[in-house]
Symmetry: C2
């Protein structure tokens, strides 16, 4: 009796050529993290359930994969944040702060499987964690990382939309809306999905008056068609209008000053394109406390944001009395890859197997072929495959065609006798002598 071998729904399984392209993108992300001075950390996938649930709420808790071992209730991690928080709290005496951590690994959420959503998914996070305080310039740095990655991946025009959570909460505080606030924040977070009239009706149903509704509708459209500096100036004007500028410590004013600062630092970094200040960005209601950002591909807004992040006041409040403010960026690699694949935006150049294939004609040419393969590996630094099956020549050539190799070296009696070897470019069909290939 045979068992079904296909993977579970929501679990990605790639053929070697797809995997090579996936790995190439993962490498671009890892190198970008590393080039900005982030250290890789590779944390456990399993934690005590209470550790993971300390931060999870609502949907996340329902989606968590639970397991048991003896009496210990365990769960699989659903993001990199909880493991990082536990790690920073547990190792604070041995880490240098600001601690810059790169985490590229699998996470698990038992979501209802749907297109582009995975239950096992790669998340690629870069976080800067301060001890006590963390300069706002790091908010710009994690945005710069996303910018650098999207530029290098060459995915076409993209927009990183940046806001500050304090602006929105400060704005709603100033409007004195009271208990309707969470609901209104949710509405604003989803404002792109409803019409102006729809939003109007929704706000009216929350007993807001005409003036409040008009102010909110203005706020939502504030970024439309304006440059970043114009948006910030409009927010200054709004600040005066809602009375926030009379108090520099007001939530709105603090958020606005932070946003000016992030914008200024990005300019200092030379980042002047692909960044759009848009006070509408919320990124969920619980976690972030300052800067928030998300990224869309201009020609594929339907992918949604696959690279996002923001600032949080205290990473490890559940595990430590010390305060660890942080800011991070995260790329949903599995979702990104699925979206790119579906739209034929991946590159086909990633070689799944070896660049060079050595093909000994018979067993008599093996020793020569092994030596040649070793020499090619050492001198070209390219992967070299050698076919060792005792097949007829035609079948060997069929393998050569299917293997994905870019170069082919056939070794027969004559090559062994003379030592003269040619290497064939399988794309152009052109043959060159090994000596000139290696030169």
């Amino acid at each position: 009796m045979r068992t079904q071998a296909q993977p579970l729904s929501g679990f990605m399984e790639l053929l070697p050529a797809q995997q090579a392209e996936f790995d190439r993108i993962k490498q671009v992300i890892a190198r970008a993290h590393h080039s900005f001075g982030f250290s890789n950390i590779d944390l456990p996938l399993i934690y005590r359930r209470e550790v993971l649930l300390a931060k999870a709420g609502g949907d996340t808790e329902k989606q968590i994969y639970q397991l048991e071992k003896g009496d210990t209730k365990l769960a699989l991690r659903f993001d990199h944040t909880v493991p990082l928080a536990a790690y920073v709290a547990g190792n604070q005496g041995n880490l240098t702060f600001p601690f810059k951590a790169s985490q590229i690994g699998k996470n698990y959420r038992g979501e209802r499987p749907q297109k582009g959503r995975f239950r096992e998914f790669y998340q690629c996070d870069a976080d800067v964690i301060g001890r006590g305080a963390l300069d706002l310039a790091y908010d710009a740095e994690v945005i710069a990382i996303i910018w650098a990655i999207y530029k290098e991946l060459n995915l076409g025009d993209f927009t990183i939309r940046i806001a500050n959570r304090k602006l929105l909460t400060g704005f709603l505080q100033a409007l004195e809306i009271g208990q309707g606030m969470p609901k209104i924040m949710h509405l604003i977070d989803n404002a792109e999905k409803i019409t102006t009239d729809g939003l109007d009706a929704e706000l009216r149903s929350l007993s807001l008056n005409d003036a409040q509704i008009a102010t909110i509708q203005n706020f939502i459209k504030l970024a439309d068609g304006r440059s970043n500096e114009q948006v910030l100036e409009s927010l200054e004007t709004l600040s005066t209008k809602i009375g926030a500028d009379q108090n520099q410590a007001s939530e709105f004013k603090v958020g606005l000053n932070e946003l000016w600062s992030v914008q200024k630092t990005l300019r200092q970094m030379g980042i002047t394109d692909c960044v759009k200040i848009d006070p509408m960005i919320v990124r969920g209601l619980d976690y972030y406390t300052g800067t928030v950002f998300e990224t869309i591909l201009n020609s594929h807004p339907e992918f949604g944001s696959i690279a996002s992040g923001g600032r949080y006041d205290n990473l490890a409040s559940n595990y430590s009395a010390e305060k660890f403010p942080g800011v991070g960026c995260s790329i949903g690699l599995s979702r990104l890859f699925a979206a790119l694949t579906e739209n034929n935006l991946t590159q086909n150049s990633s070689t799944p197997t070896a660049d060079i294939l050595v093909l000994p004609f018979s067993e008599n040419e093996r020793e020569f072929s092994f030596n040649l393969a070793a020499r090619l590996r050492a001198q070209t630094k390219k992967p070299v495959n050698i076919l060792l099956q005792p097949w007829k020549f035609n079948k060997k050539m069929e393998y050569a065609g299917k293997s994905g190799a870019k170069h082919l070296v056939v070794i027969g009696e004559q090559e062994v006798a003379t030592g003269q070897v040619n290497i064939k470019d399988l794309q152009t069909g052109k043959e060159t002598s090994l000596d000139s290939f290696l030169a």
Copy 2:
């Protein structure tokens, strides 16, 4: 109330510098796999329980991490073999055979935690899978991969001990021992741990006669102090003695011929040191059917074998009617790393964070510093960190010392005014101009 943040027992958590060294070793292994033409595949960690249990038996089944999601009974993978078997069976139409697969990832076994044993552990596997038949030369190739990795890791003298499972079973068949065979195989597998007298008594208790016991004792010592060719010759002699050479198809004779062939291919590959033919190697009783091998560090035999592997007749018998013979090598990276760390055999040169640290004196030097960091990244390809905290100079220098950076660039008013920048080697204390550093 705060939650305990330390990792679960049996789960490895490394500080950034240790992690960098771990990643370096992992890279050496991955590059070796790739250089021999193996394609990376990154398979799910979670499978239907029935899929995993189809091959697991005894201890493994007890150690498996089980989980549930809705009505589906799931489990975490405990090795790379079952996922590979399911993958090959499920994708056979889209793979090119012999299919060379590299798998480097985490696996899970709920073993009783003990020194050097982990419940979450990295396993690094390279497998060649044939369809129908697979040439014996691939057995030598996977041994050559372990050889290349151990040489490159520079771990000191090591020995790859090679045997063939058919030799031992054929030998015991020829002795006509009958139903005592599994017990005797287990004794022979553990013969290194008991004395000659102890083994004698054990064999006697299994009702073996003097002649049989003498033959077994001779077999066990057959490799002692002999060269590989001498061992193979002694096995030929033994073959005559036990009557196996009258039948070329006898289990013993087939195993011996395979061993000759693997030895010959290794020589053709130029592998003449660090390899020892030793018919005593068993590597468990169920899985392997031909070539088996394991690797010990000569100065640390107590680590046991951390790199091993062998030949199996049929990878995917549980999932497909087609026959997929394979041969693979596997390195227990977490165990290897723990053993190396404990014996101070790891290198301290792995940089956890950035190679170059740029330290702007104040906010006024930031823009210049950002430009410099970008230029250094582009021209040196090295990771470049920039400290953005608004700290006093002393605290900044303290960070520089602790950060692990090898080079330091301090940017003050003067550097911005003149454009003249020096870079300091933090190990030698020597300063050079940026221009000569980049030249």
